[in-house]
């Protein structure tokens, strides 16, 4: 009698264990897909390596300013050099690992930028220096949850809500990521403050295929507290996985 009872118990246990594992596997698959998608968004414009020509337009109460830049990236190294307007031309940022350096042609000096300054505006635009040179560690610092699935306008999208992990040192209360179901390319990204209010939003459009990769080539950044201003970025040209000489990401080259 006791023996049978025991066996029943065992069967029940094995069954429930089995069910649990299956659930976990499917959950893990979901997680994996979410992580891959988010990682792809985070490294949208870099890939293994990339060379891009970018035009930035800054609109604010003073009017409009244009900046042209060239951006090289290889692994975790990024070099941004301003090519226009003439009085700013030659100004460059070099990011290696977590170090960010500025090259200032007017002073002919290279200056290391503290992390706090990397979170301030780049050239008076709505983008920060970090936005420009740093891939955010979205999957490391945030927990990903699906918050919406369906149509926004006439595009079928997924929407992920990224909430920071307790130990993550990040500035946002949450990030909402919207991307097309068809190809996983982002359409909209909202940054929310600690208070849950939308702080700034990045809208992607004008999708083009570059080096076999579909990317949005028109980005608009709008800060919530600056109604009269916004900044656009246009990728005039971008090539992925191109060979880049290692010396590109060096101080001498930066100062050239």
């Amino acid at each position: 009698m006791t023996f049978t009872n025991c066996r029943h118990l065992n069967v029940a246990m094995v069954l429930s264990l089995l069910l649990l594992t299956v659930a976990q596997i499917s959950h893990a698959a979901d997680d994996q897909r979410a992580k891959e998608t988010v990682d792809r968004v985070a490294s949208l414009f870099s890939s293994k390596s990339s060379i891009a020509t970018v035009k930035m337009q800054i609109f604010n109460e003073d009017g409009q300013r244009n900046l042209s830049m060239q951006i090289w990236s290889l692994g975790d190294k990024v070099l941004v050099r301003i090519t226009n307007p003439q009085d700013q031309a030659g100004t460059a940022i070099l990011k290696e690992g977590s170090d960010i350096r500025y090259y200032l042609p007017k002073s002919n000096r290279t200056v290391k930028i503290p992390a706090s300054m990397a979170m301030t505006s780049w050239m008076g635009s709505d983008f920060t220096i970090d936005d420009l040179v740093k891939e955010p560690f979205l999957t490391r610092d945030y927990t990903i949850g699906t918050s919406f699935e369906g149509k926004r306008g006439d595009v079928a999208v997924y929407e992920y809500t990224l909430t920071p992990k307790p130990e993550a040192a990040v500035v946002w209360g949450k990030i909402v990521l919207q991307f097309r179901q068809a190809d996983g390319v982002p359409t909209w990204q909202g940054y929310y403050g600690e208070d849950g209010k939308l702080a700034r939003e990045l809208t992607f459009s004008e999708y083009k295929t570059k080096s076999g990769k579909v990317i949005p080539t028109h980005l608009v950044m709008q800060s919530a507290d600056k109604a009269g201003s916004h900044t656009t970025i246009d990728y005039e040209d971008i090539a992925f996985d191109v060979p880049i000489v290692a010396g590109t990401f060096s101080l001498p080259n930066m100062n050239r």
Binding site: Y102, R109, V111, P114, T120, S125
Partner: protein, 419 residues
């Protein structure tokens, strides 16, 4: 009669000299003590207001509305178009209560030396004008203050210099977000290092010429953030600020703030110090009063027999009271004169030499974000002095009145039998 009363009172005072001197000593010492306390407290308040306003802040500041306290780069006087700076300065200086005026520009930036960098506050001043309203120039411990010979010279705090490892003559790069959004940057030479004892200044301020900061920030020459004002009498600061705001607002929108509004923690401290002074003064006053009352009471009670005798030979009770009060008043006045005579050298010493608080260390003392310095100077507070004098004299009279009244109530035979 009153002439005789005075004569009698005078003789009485000299009859028992020891008693008179003890009473006088009590009043005089009490008065000197009160003078000392009042002088030190007034000195502390004055020193704090002076140091708090004269170091960097100035007594009154004129800004564009909304500029203070966030110090947004774009909010210059007269808006983005700026204003005619010299005309504005002249118009402020036209007020006769104004002693001196100086224009200022502020910014934030990154100071970068060979190996390290630090975030700093940039302050642009015209040195000839600035030195008339603040004393930063006298805090330079190495090198010189800003001067025309080195147009791109900067003066920085000693703590900033040591943290980022720069010395006199070092070249530094200042990097900032300019008014047009671009990266303002240039190379400067450190011409002076200052030490104020105030951490915010010693650690975070870079002083440079107004025009070179305007260049760095890409601000037109007509764009300044602030006009600092020094008055002839700081006590008028709030009144003058209000009047200036009304007058200047006719030509361009401004906000004029006096030091109590600019440094509320200092204003609060001054008010707190006033309260403490009143309490402290009251305690010292009570001590003095008890001493005076005691000696007066004893001195008059002691003489009950004498008053009985006077009444027995025909003096009326009111005359007895009159006599005692006259004696007391004479004694009080004489004692206060003695007390003041004792006090004057003390007050003079406090005002001229001060009390040394730092002692051997020579470290500066700062209270409520203001450097007091290690010397505590006194300052004359005549209203407190006269209040103390009136208070002590009144105490002497009141404490004489009670035993006098008691003595006058007695029948002469009874009074004479008292010891």
């Amino acid at each position: 009669m009153s002439g005789r009363l005075l004569q009698l009172a005078w003789r009485n005072l000299w009859r028992n000299r020891r008693r008179t001197f003890i009473t006088m000593a009590a009043i005089a010492f009490g008065y000197a003590m009160l003078l000392f306390v009042a002088c030190l407290m007034a000195g502390l308040r004055w020193q704090m207001i002076q140091n708090g306003t004269c170091l960097v802040m100035s007594q009154i500041q004129v800004h564009a509305p909304g500029y203070y306290p966030n110090r947004s780069l774009q909010k210059t006087l007269g808006g983005r178009q700026g204003t005619d700076v010299s005309a504005m300065l002249a118009s402020i200086a036209a007020d006769r209560r104004v002693n001196a005026v100086a224009p200022r520009v502020y910014g934030y930036g990154l100071l970068s030396a060979a190996h390290r960098s630090a975030g700093v506050e940039l302050m642009g001043v015209v040195s000839e004008q600035e030195t008339r309203i603040t004393t930063l120039n006298s805090q330079v411990v190495k090198g010189t203050y800003l001067n025309a010979r080195v147009p791109k010279g900067v003066v920085i705090g000693d703590k900033l210099a040591s943290t980022i490892g720069i010395e006199l003559g070092s070249e530094i790069v200042l990097l900032t977000q300019a008014a047009d959004g671009s990266m303002g940057n240039d190379v400067y030479t450190v011409v002076g290092i200052l030490h104020t004892g105030l951490d915010a200044v010693d650690r975070g301020l870079v002083l440079m010429s107004l025009s070179s900061l305007q260049d760095l920030l890409h601000l037109a020459p007509g764009r300044i953030h602030e006009v600092g004002i020094k008055l002839n009498h700081i006590t008028a600061a709030s009144t003058v600020a209000a009047a200036l705001e009304v007058r200047l607002a006719k030509s361009l929108p401004v906000r004029v703030m006096a030091w109590p509004e600019l440094a509320p923690e200092l204003a609060n401290y001054i008010q707190f110090n006033h309260g403490v002074t009143v309490v402290l003064f009251f305690i010292f006053f009570l001590v003095a009063v008890i001493g005076v009352m005691n000696t007066m009471l004893m001195a008059v009670f002691e003489r009950t027999r004498e008053f009985g005798m006077l009444m027995a030979i025909g003096m009326r009770p009111t005359q007895v009271i009159g006599l005692i009060l006259t004696e007391a008043a004479g004694l009080a006045v004489a004692s206060l004169v003695v007390g003041a005579t004792l006090g004057v050298p003390l007050l003079w010493y406090l005002q001229v030499h001060g009390l040394d608080l730092g002692g051997a260390t020579g470290e500066v003392v700062s209270v409520a974000g203001v450097v007091v310095g290690h010397l505590w100077y006194g300052r004359q507070d005549f209203s407190a002095y006269s209040q103390a004098a009136i208070g002590l004299a009144a105490t002497a009279l009141v404490s004489a009145l009670y035993p006098a009244w008691r003595a006058a109530q007695l029948r002469p035979t009874e009074a004479m039998r008292k010891v």
